[in-house]
């Protein structure tokens, strides 16, 4: 079964600091990858996605992620975080099953201080 690991559980950054959140997945074949964000009190929103092609994908709000197949990684980055980026971030991978359920990582809580 597919599994996803997020090693940073709680990250605290000052505004304008750079961000990198780690995500590793277990499946070695062709894989789609997603990052979702959950702002306080809100639902999951798609931040960015990778299907194929350029391994560096850009998402909304200045986020990007790099797919490194050899490392089974899909790390999320942002050069300069803002207070409004305070949220929980989830990496997710669809299964290879019939309907491709999403397997989520445990999430990383990002707190950005002023």
């Amino acid at each position: 079964a597919q599994s996803v690991s997020q090693h940073n559980h709680h990250v605290i950054l000052s505004e304008a600091a750079s961000l990198e959140l780690g995500c590793n997945y277990s499946y070695g074949g062709t894989v789609n990858l997603f990052w979702y964000v959950q702002y306080p009190g809100q639902h999951l929103q798609l931040l960015l996605k990778y299907f194929s092609g350029d391994p560096l994908v850009k998402g909304i709000k200045g986020f990007e992620a790099e797919f490194i197949k050899s490392k089974f990684s899909f790390n999320l980055r942002k050069p300069s975080v803002q207070w409004s980026d305070t949220a929980e971030y989830f990496c997710a991978v669809p299964s290879t099953g019939t309907a491709s359920k999403l397997t989520f990582g445990t999430g990383t809580r990002l707190q950005v201080t002023l």
């Binding site: 929103q45 019939t98 309907a99 491709s100 359920k101 989520f104 990582g105």
Partner: protein, 113 residues
């Protein structure tokens, strides 16, 4: 922009009661899902639904749970006899195709007392 909607936003029920959580997926989507998130824990898959039948379910989705798409627009999750441990946020999601991104609704917070 189309979005997934869910009702109610918050449901409080007593242990042993039946609850029905409702979702309206995005209209041209074909795959439908229910997930839940217990407070402080990660999002867990419950069930997927395609072509008017369950395509996959997790071990959490036991005989107390059922899903239905009664009228071509709504997608419901029923819990027949709720338990305290069913208290969680329940998210509905839909996807246009298998393996594509899933769009999530705002969730229903279920509190079982």
């Amino acid at each position: 922009e189309p979005e997934v909607t869910q009702t109610p936003s918050h449901q409080v029920t007593q242990m042993g009661q039946e609850v029905i959580l409702r979702c309206v997926p995005i209209s041209n989507h074909l795959y439908f899902y229910w997930y839940r998130q217990i407070l402080g824990q990660k999002v867990e898959f419950l069930v997927s639904f395609y072509n008017n039948e369950i395509s996959e379910k997790s071990e959490i989705f036991d005989d107390q749970f059922s899903v239905e798409r009664p009228d071509g627009s709504n997608f419901t999750l029923k819990i027949r006899s709720t338990k305290l441990e069913d208290s969680a946020m329940y998210f509905c999601a839909s996807s246009v195709a298998r393996g594509y991104e899933q769009y999530f609704g705002p969730g229903t917070r279920l509190t079982v007392t």
